[in-house]
Symmetry: C2
Subunit: 276 residues, 2 copies
């Protein structure tokens, strides 16, 4: 029997859906016998990535859940949600998550490590020695070191952005320079194996971008269609250049304290992390 | 002292951020003494909404977490994550959430009830009597009955879309007619107090739309800027009209079974719910 590329894709992705149906708890298609013969499938469509999202108290859930949706669509990948312990973690908006792995039992060699952002919780994570030590260790070997939103301040504090171009939530971009990084105002910034995304919802574009990079365009487009990702924001105020002065002024005023605090804490943590 | 509208907004939203900092576990600004004098704030900027997201085994987390981000930015609102029990709930991609309320202790009178979608888990939820009974009860009094993605199949099964225009994940739109609804192919459909959103990522547009509806344009735009919601999808394949035939064919093939199953289950559940 000749399988066309399309048949192959159907079989592969149907298997992924079957894995969902069976309640796969890591990646959608992980640890699941395929229900179709996938022997003819392009090798490039199934991977063996080990992917870890770091979570911490008061992180912003959407920063993580957006790219988590995308990356759990990678056939063959294992996706871990990692924290210091397995105790439930409260997000800044009150969602309660149970980690699937700890700093101890998270795989040593990761393909992707991704750190989401937040506000106060992020400043605390930047100062936490075990977090910095974990990121320094896994980040030194990970194929891609990544972040969404102010998550870049945490990987920056761990010394992982020194000498790299990077981005963050637009409010926090200037802070990156204290970590030896060059701030770039963009939604996704890739510099060698560092990939950083802008604020919150940027994580969805970032996740889709990774799918195209790790598989191919057809794969990414299929997941985009499943996610019905054809955004129609009812307003056009998502970046400072397009927001009204009133709206821009409000967000600036809200974060007057955040920037200086992040710089002070960042500088101290960056120095401390070098010694860990 | 005269407060301009902008000063007022700053004070109000700064208080919201302060609430985050203090670790508010329901809405971002709930249960928190304001750190600024907000006496001059427009009454319309602070509400008292009771909002509930229903979650269930194998739901799609992004369907819920997108609008949850938006709605927890409503000052004064309380946002609940409700399930049959407080036992942890596994999403279809393996995220583990702890509900904040049960069907029993969820407030009786809700301003908004919102049901996220999924695939196999959604078919199971459509058949679950306690879920249907809960939705029938709260939905009969809620100011707005809403859904994201295939969540509309669950509220439809509970009889809450009978005689209404509604939408769903594009794959599932035709199924809505078994619930007496008129399917509409759109990202957000509002018919009187029913508001349904399309697949997965539509929930973010839906949440932002609700902010404008429940507060005002400036409020919604401020949250949009905080979320840096200026999407830049790296591909343009998010709706069937724009996907390539290859990509469209793959997703169609993946869901060949889902449509007929959802129709059969939906018809039976819709009839059963009438008697509950």
């Amino acid at each position: 029997m000749t399988m066309t590329r399309r048949d192959v894709g159907v079989a592969a992705l149907t298997a992924a859906v079957a894995a969902v149906a069976a309640g796969g708890h890591t990646a959608r298609a992980a640890e699941q016998k395929p229900v179709h013969d996938m022997s003819g499938m392009p090798a490039s469509w199934t991977g063996h990535e080990q992917i870890a999202f770091l979570i911490y108290p008061q992180f912003t859930a959407l920063d993580m859940v957006g790219p988590h949706y995308m990356l759990t669509s990678l056939m063959g990948a294992k996706v871990h949600v990692v924290a210091a312990t397995r105790d439930p973690i409260h997000s800044d908006a009150g969602l309660i998550f149970t980690p699937s792995a700890t700093f101890e039992d998270c795989p040593k060699d990761l393909d992707i490590i991704c750190v989401p952002g937040g506000t106060t919780g992020t400043l605390a994570a930047m100062q936490d020695e075990s977090t910095l030590r974990f990121l320094k260790d896994r980040g030194s070997r990970a194929k891609f070191v990544t972040s969404v939103c102010t998550g870049s301040l945490i990987i920056g504090a761990a010394g992982l952005l020194d000498g790299y171009k990077a981005t963050s939530h637009w409010v926090a971009e200037p802070v990156l320079s204290v970590f030896g990084a060059t701030p770039v105002h963009a939604r996704i910034v890739k510099d060698r194996n560092r990939i950083t995304a802008g604020g919150v919802t940027s994580g969805i574009d970032f996740g889709l971008y990774l799918l195209g990079m790790l598989r191919d365009r057809t794969y990414a487009e299929t997941v985009q269609l499943m996610a019905q990702y054809a955004p129609e924001p009812p307003y056009d105020s998502g970046v400072p250049e397009r927001a009204s002065p009133e709206v821009k002024g409000m967000v600036d005023a809200m974060f007057t304290q955040f920037g200086p605090m992040a710089e002070t804490i960042g500088r101290a943590s960056f120095d401390k992390a070098k010694l860990l």
